[in-house]
């Protein structure tokens, strides 16, 4: 709170983010990999999220009015285009667990008038309930629409006694008029970091996971620290050639340069084809630089 802050901030923090080595010196950058081929759409993760994060049950009427409070929602799509072409969904349904993508360059962060949502040193997109005044600009500007607003005072109605005994004391219960969203279970991260600091070390891979990743019966959700290159998630990002600070993946550029169909048929382009990787981030072209990598669903065409 002083002049040296002013000076140092001008020089140090006037940087464009994300940049390539942004988390080179920092101990943590939390990120996820969600394998859509493993995801069965069973909703275990969403219920785990309700249990972990004190999410209110809004009831039928409010759900109907679009006021549901699920931080993590499972979307089910029947197709990719604008019209459904098949009579029967022969390759099943496509499920997508969608939660806050913890963007590196989050559209919500710049527009919040009071700075209630900001970027943490761990690369998370925070939401500070007590600072929020409820202008909902962040939600308006979120391309993923994963921010949920407390349209009512849920503490009054959502937990009739003794249901309120289930509420986690580590997570603030949100009253009316504030925005909330997936936090990557920040209460777990804080606890793990605190424990690690007491033991004078960094949080190790697998030591802390989000509630959804913990519950997922097929282990489709992987959570970890990509600042630590030895972590599973960092390895998965690397294997999928997804880079945090790139808005277009190298493999996709390769893919664009893919040979014509005739060449593929003659075997010329086969090597390029074989390199097809599954990792992508939703709406990468919007340059939000999300921290969640999805792995494409696989379907066998043999039958």
């Amino acid at each position: 709170m002083s002049l040296d802050n002013l000076i140092s901030n001008w020089s140090k923090l006037r940087v464009r983010r994300p940049q390539v080595d942004q988390y080179k010196d920092s101990p943590y950058k939390w990120a996820m990999v969600i394998d859509l081929d493993s995801c069965t759409g069973c909703n275990a993760c969403t219920t785990a999220c309700y249990a972990e994060n004190n999410l209110p049950v809004v009831g039928k009427k409010r759900f109907l009015e679009g006021q549901a409070m699920h931080w993590l929602r499972i979307e089910r799509y029947w197709g990719e285009g604008e019209e459904s072409t098949q009579e029967f969904p022969e390759q099943g349904a496509a499920f997508l667990p969608m939660m806050c993508q913890q963007c590196e360059s989050a559209p919500c962060e710049i527009v919040c008038p009071v700075g209630a949502t900001h970027h943490t040193p761990d690369g998370l997109n925070s939401q500070v309930y007590n600072r929020c005044i409820g202008s909902r600009y962040c939600s308006a500007n979120c391309p993923y629409k994963v921010r949920y607003f407390n349209w009512y005072n849920y503490p009054e109605s959502a937990w009739p006694s003794p249901l309120e005994l289930q509420l986690s004391p580590d997570v603030t219960v949100r009253s009316k008029g504030v925005m909330e969203k997936c936090t990557f279970c920040v209460q777990r991260l804080t606890e793990a970091k605190s424990k690690a600091r007491t033991e004078k070390r960094n949080v190790q891979d697998g030591e802390v996971v989000t509630a959804c990743a913990q519950a997922c019966p097929t282990s489709a959700i992987h959570f970890g620290n990509i600042a630590d290159s030895s972590s599973t998630v960092a390895k998965m990002w690397k294997a999928q050639q997804v880079e945090l600070s790139a808005d277009k993946q190298k493999k996709d550029m390769k893919h664009e340069k893919m040979p014509a169909a005739s060449e593929v048929a003659s075997g010329v382009g086969a090597s390029v084809e074989a390199e097809k990787l599954r990792g992508y981030r939703v709406f990468e072209e919007l340059r939000t630089y999300p921290s969640v990598v999805y792995l494409e669903r696989i379907r066998s065409g043999e039958v």
């Binding site: 709170m1 409010r62 009015e65 679009g66 006021q67 549901a68 929602r73 979307e75 799509y77 969608m98 559209p107 710049i110 527009v111 919040c112 008038p113 009071v114 700075g115 900001h118 600072r131 929020c132 005044i133 409820g134 202008s135 909902r136 600009y137 939600s139 308006a140 500007n141 391309p143 993923y144 629409k145 921010r147 949920y148 607003f149 407390n150 349209w151 009512y152 005072n153 009316k176 008029g177 504030v178 925005m179 709406f283 919007l286």
Partner: protein, 462 residues
């Protein structure tokens, strides 16, 4: 004086062909005072009827707001993804309306268009009151309005500041500045008239006007300082007004959503603001002309000029609108294009076509002399234009929420509910209420400037 006037008049008749005069230049100055001050007299019963209706309408809005405040914004059927609803649309509408006063007083003042003089006062009042109404919507739409002071940059015990990168903070400064400046401008331009009121009033009203007229005696020093100050503020007000609505436009243009993220939004918003302001002036012009029998001041030729101005601005608006469609249509942003197609074909399609019809086709009525000199027609047309401009704001805000980036949250069912409509209606009651009070307390025609106008016109004929 009268001899000179008569002489000049005879010359004028010879030199200027039958073109209608903006105002009867031979009007006695004393008559100007009496005519205008008559509007401050004890109101007729019909005044109270309308006034109380306005209070009642405002009361409806207040009741809705109290309910919403106590229960949460959910009662307004706001939801994901429709998080803003009518509140922000109507906020932009009122902000836009506020640009009329600036246009008529400041811009036309600088351009020496003296026909503005009989009508700018109420336009300025409209500016002030519509800004006050717009400000209410900012508060109404906040989830935790009791914490609104978090937006204000002030040293506090939390050691926190607002986020200056947010267009909402720019909004707060811009609207705050504009409101302050508008009030100052309205008041300052009124000082000589307040002195007139002081001179003809008695009792506590005299004291009231005496305090407000800050010792105005019409001395040459007062006049010369007044002239310069007024001009300076007018000059400062114009860029401010332009910045205010372009900053409101940045609320959308700075965001990333399809249909909002448009470079042409700031000028488009400013044009829309001037447009809706002019339309509102025509409406109030006709109402005041009729109510206070200001036919001699708010004359048909002035109305005609206003209509021409409105028509010109409507064409600017139309152009900017088409530019936006064209750049989206031929651009590569598929999301924005889908959003545009959705506006034209989705559930809000009737509104979208209505907006284009009312905003771009109806103003052609202003291009015909027969129509624009016909007062009832103009009343209808101006109301239609206002409606069109309100729909424009609705169509900016709502379809993007309904059809944004994320298909899963596309919604095809959202319409505002009675709480939102009640609060919007209440805002009209609040505006009417303030405007009626203004008309009864302050002269809604600038007396000294009408005198200047006729004086200079007579001199010009010489």
């Amino acid at each position: 004086m009268s001899t000179v006037v008569e002489e000049l008049d005879s010359i004028g008749e010879r030199r200027f062909e039958p073109k209608a005069k903006d105002i009867n230049e031979d009007i006695a100055w004393a008559k100007i005072n009496t005519d205008v001050l008559r509007s401050l007299e004890r109101p007729r019963p019909i005044f109270w009827v309308i006034f109380l209706s306005a209070v009642a309408l405002f009361g409806v809005g207040v009741a809705c707001e109290i309910y919403q405040y106590k229960t949460g914004l959910g009662v307004a059927e706001l939801r994901n993804p429709h998080v803003w609803g009518l509140y922000i649309s109507t906020f932009i509408f009122w902000i836009g309306m506020s640009h009329s006063g600036t246009l008529l007083s400041a811009i036309l003042h600088i351009m020496h268009a003296d026909w503005r003089k009989p009508i700018y006062r109420f336009a300025e009042a409209m500016t002030t009151f519509s800004l006050m109404t717009a400000g209410l919507f900012v508060l109404v739409h906040l989830g935790r309005v009791w914490q609104f002071y978090y937006v204000v940059a002030y040293p506090n015990e939390r050691w926190t500041w607002p986020n200056f990168s947010s267009p909402l903070v720019w909004d707060a400064t811009a609207i705050g500045s504009y409101l302050t400046t508008s009030v100052i401008f309205l008041y300052f331009g009124m000082i000589p008239d307040l002195a007139i009121c002081r001179d003809s009033a008695t009792g506590f009203r005299r004291t009231f006007y005496r305090l407000l007229s800050v010792g105005w005696q019409g001395t040459d020093r007062q006049w010369s300082n007044f002239r310069i100050t007024y001009l300076t503020i007018a000059c400062l007000l114009i860029p401010l007004a332009v910045s205010v609505h372009s900053i409101v436009a940045t609320d959308f243009a700075v965001s990333q959503q399809p249909g909002w993220h448009t470079t042409s939004f700031p000028p488009y918003f400013v044009a829309g603001a001037l447009y809706s302001g002019c339309a509102a002036i025509i409406t109030l012009f006709i109402i005041l002309r009729h109510t206070f029998r200001f036919e001699e001041y708010m004359t048909i030729p002035i109305l005609e000029k206003l209509c021409k101005l409105t028509f010109a601005i409507s064409m600017v608006w139309t152009y900017l609108n088409l530019i936006e469609y064209a750049s989206t249509w031929y651009g590569t942003d598929v999301y924005a294009k889908q959003a545009l197609i959705y506006r034209a074909t989705g559930i809000y399609r009737y509104w979208w076509w209505a907006m284009n019809f009312l905003g771009s086709v109806v103003p052609f009525a202003l291009a015909f002399k027969a129509l624009r000199t016909h007062v009832p027609t103009m009343m209808v047309v101006s109301l239609l234009l206002n409606l069109g401009m309100w729909i424009e704001r609705f169509m900016i805000v709502t379809p993007t929420f309904a059809h944004g980036y994320y298909p899963w949250t596309w919604s095809d069912v959202w319409w505002p509910n009675w709480i939102q409509i009640g609060i919007v209606a209440g805002s009209f009651g609040w505006f009417t209420l303030l405007f009626m009070l203004f008309c009864k307390i302050f002269p809604s025609v600038s007396m000294y400037e009408v005198k200047e106008m006729v004086y200079h016109r007579i001199r010009a004929r010489k």
